[in-house]
Structure formats: C-alpha cells, structure tokens
C-alpha cells in the first residue's frame, strides 16, 4: 500500500509517546514492504532530513503554556483557529502531497497544531480514505471553542465526520463519544506498544533490601507526581523506610522538590532529570517497580509497558488506559489514585506479601508477545487495507477546496477577532 501518514510532530521532536509510536508504526509498515510517506511539520527544533519524511506542514504550536500565558486573547483565539480548526496553508501542502504521492490511504495521527479539522474536511472533499490512530482525545480538542453554551462545532463535526479509527483504549473512545463525537463507522481497539528489545529475565531477583521505585514522564499533577510524593510520606509515617523513589523527567514545576523538602523526604525521593528514551529504558532493569499514579483520563501510558519489558513491575492507577489491558496481580499491580492506596501497594511488596518475580516474568512475556509494534502492526495494516478499498466516487476538485479553505480561514479569522473585540 501507499500510505501517507500525517502527524503534527515526528521524532526527534516529540511531546510524548504519541509521536514516538507514530514513527514506530511508520517504520514497521516500511519494514513490511509498504510505501510510506510522512507529512509533518519541522517541529520545534532542527531535525535531520529523512527521505520518507516531508516536513512541509506548518505548526501553530499549541503546546507552549508560556506563550499562551503571555499572548493576548485575540492572538490565542487566532492561534487556536489555525492550530485546531483550519490552516489553509496546510490544506494546500496536504493536497500537494496527495497529488505527488497518490496514496491508497491516509494514516492520521495527532492533528493538533496543524488545523486538523480542515485536513479532515479536505480529505472528505477529495474522498481520500483515512484511518485515524487515536492515542488521545484529539477529535474533541480540535473542536475546542471558547464560547459559552454548548459546543456547536462538536455537533457539526459529529454530524459530518465518518471514518475508520484505531484507539488505544476504551477510555479514549468513551471520552470522545461522551464529548459528542461518535467514532463511526468503525473503531478498533489496539493497545499501544513498547519499543526496543526486551530486557533480561528478572523472575528471580536479588533483593537489595530496599524497594527501588522508578517513575518517568512529564512531571505534572496529571501524571500523579504529587500522589507519589505523598505516598512516600505515608510510608515513612508508617515507619517504613526501605524504599527509594527516583523520578525521571524534565522538572518544570519546582513546587515538587519543595514538597519533598517540606516533608523531609530527601533520602527517599529524588529527581533525576530527563534522559533520552533509549537510556531511560535501560535504567528500568535497575528498579523493582514502575510507579504510574496517573490521572483517570490517561489514554494509555507507554512507559509502564517499557518498564514491564525490562522486568520492572508496573504499579498503576486502577482507572487509566493501560489498566484496561493488564491484569491486576498477574501483569501489574493496581491501586486507586490516592497516596494511601499507592503506599499500600508499595508496602505489600516491601513486606513481601506480594512476590514481584512471577509478576515481572508474566508482564515481560505478555508485553513481548502482545504489546510490541510487530504484534499490532498486522491489525493496523488490515484496517488500513480495508480503508484503502473505499470508493472515491464523487471527489471534489483540489482547486475548489483550496479556494474554499482560504476563504473559510479568512472568515474564521475575522469572526474570531470580532468576537474578541466585542
């Protein structure tokens, strides 16, 4: 198949696992003999040129909280308009790629920051079949509209949007559909996957006498860093001191070290900074458990899978995406998202109520077998193939939609600015 992949970012620049998974999927499809082109943006930092990656799209960066905080309301709304809804330039670049590459199917990833709704409308206009890989609630984000009352844009998108979807968890599907966008006519649940080779067998592990806990990812309230620090305090207050928590990731909020200091947890909780993913996964072998006290609307969570692949047992929030795929006590340990519940789970390991060895072995096996890109790519391939067979009858012209996109973009800008001035 000729597959045009569209993603807002593509490694090396990533926000999280979504973009890394995109590259892994692309490379897996290439390995299986497909002709794959990636249409993406230059990202936010220089990227090396890669033959199958066309960085012709423009990114209206929605990720900089600093810029958003300092921008005027009008600027923010205009950025939202181009970032989420329609960017006529990106429509033009997409048409150019479609014309040049003549794909059988378009494989969509994260469309934030590139005027995703406009791209979807463009594909609809040209009757180009697509499959949208959803690792987050991107459809609803694209409809974000800062106005009072019901979000009428969601209603309209729900009315018109029809396509094939891959979603990483039921949670993601439910959230999108709860927001009012039915994923019709087809959505298939395919879990995220862990990259890299498996680590060594750690079913018989030597005890260091201390429970070694690792956490990695964005250091934000949503990811549960506060919960983790609080759980350390609970353990220490229970008189349990044989543990250490190392937190990897870029530290943007210095409130957390302050919290550690305030609780006097310096001997137990450490911030280790950010590591490249390849180096980070090697570190998992040095730890007993991977703590993942993430929020309920976590779409999935790739890091716990990578930890499991290296024999590091995930202890995860009971309600989150990855929790749907792993069995408590078999492949992981689950806890309610409270400091006490996580402290309880840590304590069961420390006092050997739970034997980590068999869980680590089963987790490593199941991740090696089922949560690998090699394992899921045939299913992705099948849905791409089904989509590619869709009729393209009734396709509108490129010129027509391009003009339409320009006019719609200008109209939207005017209306947005008038709304801010009112």
């Amino acid at each position: 198949m000729r597959i045009l992949t569209i993603s807002n970012l593509y490694p090396p620049d990533v926000v999280g696992g979504y973009e890394i998974a995109c590259r892994q999927a692309v490379e897996a499809l290439l390995e299986r003999g497909h002709d794959v082109q990636v249409l993406t943006t230059p990202g936010r930092s220089p990227s090396p040129r890669v033959a199958h990656v066309d960085r012709a799209l423009r990114l209206t960066d929605p990720f900089s909280q600093f810029v958003n905080r300092l921008s005027t309301l009008s600027t923010i709304r205009l950025m939202d308009s181009g970032s989420y809804r329609l960017d006529a330039f990106n429509v033009d670049r997409t048409f150019e790629a479609l014309e040049r590459f003549q794909p059988d199917v378009v494989y969509l990833w994260n469309l934030l920051g590139i005027g995703g709704l406009g791209l979807l409308a463009a594909l609809k206009h040209r009757r180009v079949p697509w499959v949208w890989h959803l690792m987050d609630n991107v459809p609803s984000y694209l409809c974000r509209w800062n106005s009072l009352g019901p979000n009428r844009l969601i209603a309209e998108v729900a009315r018109q949007l029809r396509g094939r979807y891959v979603a990483c968890s039921r949670r993601v599907v439910d959230e999108i559909e709860r927001d009012g966008i039915p994923l019709l006519p087809e959505v298939e649940l395919i879990p995220n996957w862990a990259g890299g080779p498996p680590g060594s067998d750690r079913s018989s592990r030597a005890s260091s006498g201390r429970l070694r806990i690792i956490s990695a990812g964005r250091i934000t309230p949503e990811k549960g860093v506060g919960v983790l620090i609080e759980s350390a305090r609970v353990l220490r207050d229970r008189g349990i001191e044989s543990f250490e928590i190392d937190i990897f990731g870029r530290l943007l909020d210095h409130e957390y070290p302050a919290l550690v200091h305030r609780y006097g947890l310096e001997g137990w909780v450490s911030f280790k900074g950010e590591l490249p993913n390849a180096e980070l996964v090697k570190r998992y072998a040095d730890y007993d458990v991977f703590a993942f006290p993430t929020w309920e609307r976590e779409p999935f969570g790739i890091a716990p899978l990578e930890a499991a692949l290296h024999g590091c047992v995930p202890i995860i929030s009971r309600l989150c995406g990855i929790s749907e795929w792993l069995v408590d006590g078999v492949h992981c340990l689950k806890a309610d998202r409270t400091p006490e519940a996580f402290a309880d789970r840590f304590q069961t390991v420390i006092d050997r109520t739970v034997d980590l060895g068999p869980i680590a072995a089963r987790a490593q096996r199941v991740v090696s077998r089922e949560f690998r890109v090699e394992a899921v790519i045939p299913r992705i391939e099948a849905i791409l193939e089904r989509a590619s067979r869709e009729s393209r009858a009734g396709a509108g012209s490129t010129e027509e939609f391009h003009r339409l996109a320009i006019i719609a973009e200008r109209l939207a800008r005017i209306i947005v600015q008038e709304g801010c001035a009112a």
């Binding site: 009757r127 018109q160 009858a393 339409l404 006019i407 719609a408 109209l411």
Partner: protein, 371 residues
C-alpha cells in the same frame, strides 16, 4: 421533490426588509414553486433570535434559524445551524453574496458539496469574497440584468441573467374605472435614488407622491425643502395595499436613481433592476427611469415608458404624460403585457427551475448523490 434553500440575510416582511433585493428572492421562490409545484419547494433561510418556520406561499416557506451571537447588521448574521440546515437541501441559492452572511453560506454549501448559486442584490458589506474569488466556488451566478451580470468578474462560473420576478397576480391594473392624477416614486428614501432630481424636474403644477421608508434623515429634510412650493406628498408608512393603489392611480412611476448622489457619493450599481418600475408596469402604469445602471433594460422607450438622459427631458416627459391620457393608457397596457411576457415571476421561475435542474442533474450533483 427537490428542495431548494434560499439563504438570505433579509426577507421581505415587516420584520426584515431593505428593498427590492428582499422581495426578489421571495418572488423568485414563488415563481420556482409555481413553475413546477410537484417538483420544487423553496425555503427562504434567514436568521433570528429564535427558530421559526411558516409558509409564505404554496411551496415556499420562511425558515428562521438562530443566529450565532448578536450580528452588528443582518448582513453579518451567521449560524451554527447553517451546515445541518443546508444539508437538507438539494441546492443552495445564496442571495446577497457580497455580505458576511452570503460568504459563509457559500463556504458552508460548498463544504457540503451542494450545487450552489449566488446572486448579488447590491448589499456590498464585505469584499472578502471578491478578493478571494468566492464566485468561482459557485456553480452559477444569477444576475437579474445584463448590467448586473457585467459587474461579476468570474473566470469559470457561468452567469445566467434572469430578468424580472414581479408578481403580476398581486400587481394588477384596477378592475374599475382608473383615475390617474399624479406621478409616483416608490422605494427607499435614499440619496442614490435621486429623488431630489425628480423633484427638481417636476413641473410646479403636477403632483408627485414620494412613497417609501426614510433611511436618511438629512436627505429627507433636503427632499422636503426642495418640495416646498410644489405638489409633492410624502408617504412614509404605506402598506402593500396603499402602494398598489398608488401605482394604479399614477400617470407613471418614476425611478431617477443616480451613480453620483447629491452629496457626491458614488454608486457603482445604484439599481440592479429597479423592482418598483416592474411593479408599476404590472399595474398597467408606464415606467420612467434614468439611463442609469440596469433600469433601461426593463423599460422600452416609447413603448412601456420612457428612459431619460437629463432633467429637461424628464420634465418634458412628465408634462407629456400628464397631458396625454391615451398615451398613458397605451404605454400602461404595453407595460403590463411586457411584464406578463418577460418579467413575471412565473417566467423567472421557469428559467430558474431549468437552471436548478441542470445543476442538480449535472455530474457534480450526481456524484454527490452517489457518494
């Protein structure tokens, strides 16, 4: 049954009206529905604070959808409901295409892949469409005069001229004995209508009734000042019946619109048709118009009325008609015949229905249905 949507920021009624540009879509809708009652229904889609729907005529309904926010003028009205609403129709005809309302409607209709027709009624509140070639998106442009057609600069979109659209069942000659005792002007009281020039040309002994709503207080003051010492009557609150009665008692109905008004303001298209000329003609009353914009296309000089070039000529024409009742009756009769043959809404409706048929049946329309 083929359903046609007429998107119009204004409609002809007590709640919403500017001029002939609003009566025209309504009449055209009636004409289309009358031309093929089993085949076509037309809904006028407009905007308001609450939704409503009511029948205006057989096969013609007025559908009000809720406007988003509070538009500064009706021409800027847009609605979140527009896409879902337009999706119900087989074809979208956007009236007042050079307005925000019209531009959004065209964009929505084309995004929905609907055959789309546009008509400019002279409300040019936005140039965005002009700058970015909005008309190229349309499948057809409908102008109601050759003059109007010439104003469109489109490369690929065909322009169809469909003249007229007056309801000759409503505007009819009187059944009884006709008494004619005045000239009339019917229309909005605005500077580009050149009413000041008409009053200037009016002989002191001939009566003129100026009938229309006041939209420009300074101009209205000017008109009253010029009317001093002349037999000019102003009627600013006439209803349809009163207007009909005025047409019937007139020696002629005069439209003296200008490209440059008394304040020096220029107008590219002061009249795209001159609807009140046709209404009067339908009533069997001769029409007099300046040789301005589209108006001469509708008045056959010496046959259905007169076309004048200067005020001296206008004065002569007024004196001639006031003194020659047989000429008035002959011109009036021929004016009525011209309307029935060429400018009646049924004739316009037939032309429009043919165009709609072609567009809906065209390749793009068929492909859209197949998809």
């Amino acid at each position: 049954m083929r359903r046609i949507a007429y998107v119009t920021p204004l409609y002809f009624g007590d709640d919403s009206c500017v001029g002939g540009g609003e009566r025209y879509p309504q009449n055209l809708a009636k004409g289309v529905a009358l031309s093929a009652p089993e085949k076509y229904s037309v809904d006028l889609i407009t905007f308001g604070t609450r939704p409503s729907q009511r029948e205006l005529a057989p096969g013609v309904a007025l559908r009000v959808i809720v406007a988003a926010g509070v538009p500064r003028t009706p021409f800027e009205a847009v609605s979140w409901e527009l896409p879902a609403t337009l999706d119900e129709y087989d074809l979208v005809h956007v009236h007042q295409s050079a307005t925000r309302c019209g531009e959004v409607a065209v964009a929505v209709a084309k995004q929905l892949r609907k055959p789309t027709v546009i008509t400019d009624h002279g409300a040019h509140t936005s140039t965005l469409g002009l700058e970015y070639g909005l008309a190229e998106l349309a499948d057809a442009v409908v102008a109601y005069s050759d003059f109007g057609a010439a104003l469109h600069h489109v490369k690929s979109t065909p322009i169809h001229v469909v003249k007229g659209g007056v309801d000759s069942d409503v505007f009819t000659p009187t059944n009884g004995v006709r008494v004619r005792d005045r000239f009339t002007y019917v229309g909005r009281l605005l500077p580009h209508k050149g009413i000041d020039r008409l009053i200037d040309a009016l002989p002191a002994d001939l009566p003129l009734t100026v009938c229309g709503r006041v939209y420009h207080e300074d101009y209205f003051r000017l008109l009253r000042s010029k009317a001093e010492g002349k037999l000019v009557e102003f009627v600013t609150d006439a209803d349809d019946e009163a207007i009909l009665a005025l047409y019937r008692r007139a020696w002629a109905n005069v439209l003296s619109s200008v490209h440059t008004d008394c304040y020096g303001n220029s107008f590219v298209a002061p009249e795209l048709m001159g609807f009140t000329l046709l209404e009067a003609m339908a009533c069997g009353t001769p029409a007099i118009c300046a040789r301005t914009a589209a108006m001469p296309e509708f008045v056959d000089h010496g046959e259905t009325g007169f076309v004048y070039d200067d005020l001296a000529s206008l004065t002569n024409i007024l004196q001639l008609l006031a003194s020659d009742s047989s000429l008035v009756e002959r011109l009036g009769r021929q004016a009525r015949e011209a309307v029935e043959a060429r400018f009646d809404l049924r004739a316009a409706g037939r032309s429009m229905a043919k165009l709609y048929d072609d567009l809906i049946d065209s390749e793009s329309g068929s492909a859209r249905e197949a998809a």
